[in-house]
Symmetry: C2
Subunit: 294 residues, 2 copies
């Protein structure tokens, strides 16, 4: 057994897992140990992570995923969903406190790595993953390598602008893809009705709810076709809370995808697949990170 710990820091909770890297397959049921704690203020984040590392027990490696802009050195430059998160040196501080190298990367990158290694993206040569949760995370695994960009900030597909005069995003700009194609976006398109409720009504055949989901699916598809026009991937994995409504949403998303893609009849389309690792994708990806980090 090669035990690897991964901790995924979310906006509300931190999820830690231990997995066995010697297994060829790791799903949500193959997690050796796991625990969760509320996410503290950024000033207490490193302390909380040190405690979690200790609680996770003896392991061969430990790594962490955090949302937002993370430098190649593991410094959290900014994270809209974690108060006080400007310039927190998560990686360097954890490395010093734990006396071992602790890799830190963006949570969207790590979810992509996990789905590529163990989930819906297995076998893909050029895979994008989008995590449609409260906001949107993104990650790109090309020839087995997570694409981090020159600062570490690649994959921020949620903040690409798809409607420059649209509503304001949490990032301060207007009309980011995240404004429309996230859980928050679904609530906005439903005039404040919770996403779960709209989806429930659509499953029952309610015409108004279906209209809302069609509008939402069109926005989701616009981002996916933009990714395809830029990267021409073989697989796009769709994860996050929104993917739990894949039964109603994916047929709509696939239809709109063809409408919005450049020259759809002249190309092989990427496989649009639903994520398989659920809420554990980020933590499992963190556990994988030391094996894949350069």
């Amino acid at each position: 057994m090669t035990l690897a710990a991964g901790i995924d820091v979310g906006g509300t909770k931190c999820l830690g897992v231990v997995i066995d890297l010697d297994r060829d397959n790791v799903g949500e049921r193959d997690i050796v140990r796991q625990l969760r704690h509320p996410t503290p203020h950024a000033s207490e984040l490193v302390d909380a992570l040190v405690d979690m590392a200790s609680e996770l027990g003896e392991v061969d490696s430990i790594a962490v995923g955090v949302p937002g802009l993370i430098t190649l050195e593991g410094v959290m430059r900014a994270s809209p969903n974690i108060p006080g998160s400007v310039d927190v040196a998560v990686g360097p501080e954890l490395t010093a406190r734990l006396g071992r190298r602790v890799h830190v990367d963006n949570d969207g990158n790590l979810a992509a790595l996990a789905e590529w290694r163990y989930g819906a993206g297995r076998g893909a040569r050029n895979m994008w993953m989008v995590t449609l949760g409260t906001g949107i995370g993104g990650g790109h695994v090309l020839n087995g390598v997570v694409q981090r960009g020159v600062n570490g900030f690649a994959g921020e597909i949620g903040h690409t602008v798809v409607n420059p005069d649209g509503p304001r995003c949490t990032c301060g700009r207007k009309g980011c893809w995240e404004v429309y194609a996230s859980g928050r976006g679904l609530g906005m398109l439903a005039s404040g009705e919770p996403g779960e409720s709209v989806i429930h009504r659509a499953r029952e055949g309610d015409a108004d709810a279906i209209t809302v989901l069609e509008a939402f699916s069109r926005w989701v598809a616009i981002g996916l076709s933009n990714i395809t026009n830029v990267s021409d991937p073989d697989v796009i994995v769709i994860g996050g809370g929104v993917s739990e409504a894949a039964d109603v949403l994916m047929p709509m998303v696939r239809r709109w995808f063809v409408e919005t893609l450049y020259s759809p009849e002249q190309r092989t389309h990427p496989d649009l697949r639903v994520a398989q690792l659920g809420e554990h994708a980020g933590a499992i990806g963190a556990a994988l990170l030391p094996m894949f980090a350069s």
Copy 2:
């Protein structure tokens, strides 16, 4: 001397060059031979290219750039600006007719390769180039490798949607980046006045013309910041006819870029550079292709 011929097929003309690959630097003045012919109907394209290859004389290699969706095998699947261009096997037919392997790639990819090797992108690790001409071409050179995607269709940044309810694009969809940030887009934003005339008036200080260029520069910047959010490059090279007005446009584009980029104060920005190889970039990139093709 290692003589390499490259032919760039454009919407109106085909430009052929021969360069010496043994030189460390090749600029527009270092072209050994060049010629240009009008672009024929797609059904006569291969014949015309065979003739041009013969006119370019004895060389060590020959390769071709064409606009549109080009497969990894060099088949032109579709090219909106070349009539009849569906499924023309340019690469395989030229290889058979000339009795030597002839590589064919997308013109945007090749312009990017040329600027990376000899022009404004020298030294970049993660470089995007956008060619803002009549339409928009794009190319991505990552660690010295042109990113073609799994079908060969990567880099089509011009057809990413930035305003889904905007005016119709030549590709049939609505609100592609090309609708706004191309030469054609500038004409549209100027209510039909030619781009050159607007730029001339702006240089003279005309307030209305400056307002038009500000709107245009904002659209250019939106695409550049979208690229940055996705790929986090160190350099973006801006080429095409539009770049000839860099003196008035670039200061505006740089200002809007900061407005539209996610978390601009928390990151190192990519260098926004003006292309150096002018209209020869595509043909020089084609000449380079055999050296870089896998």
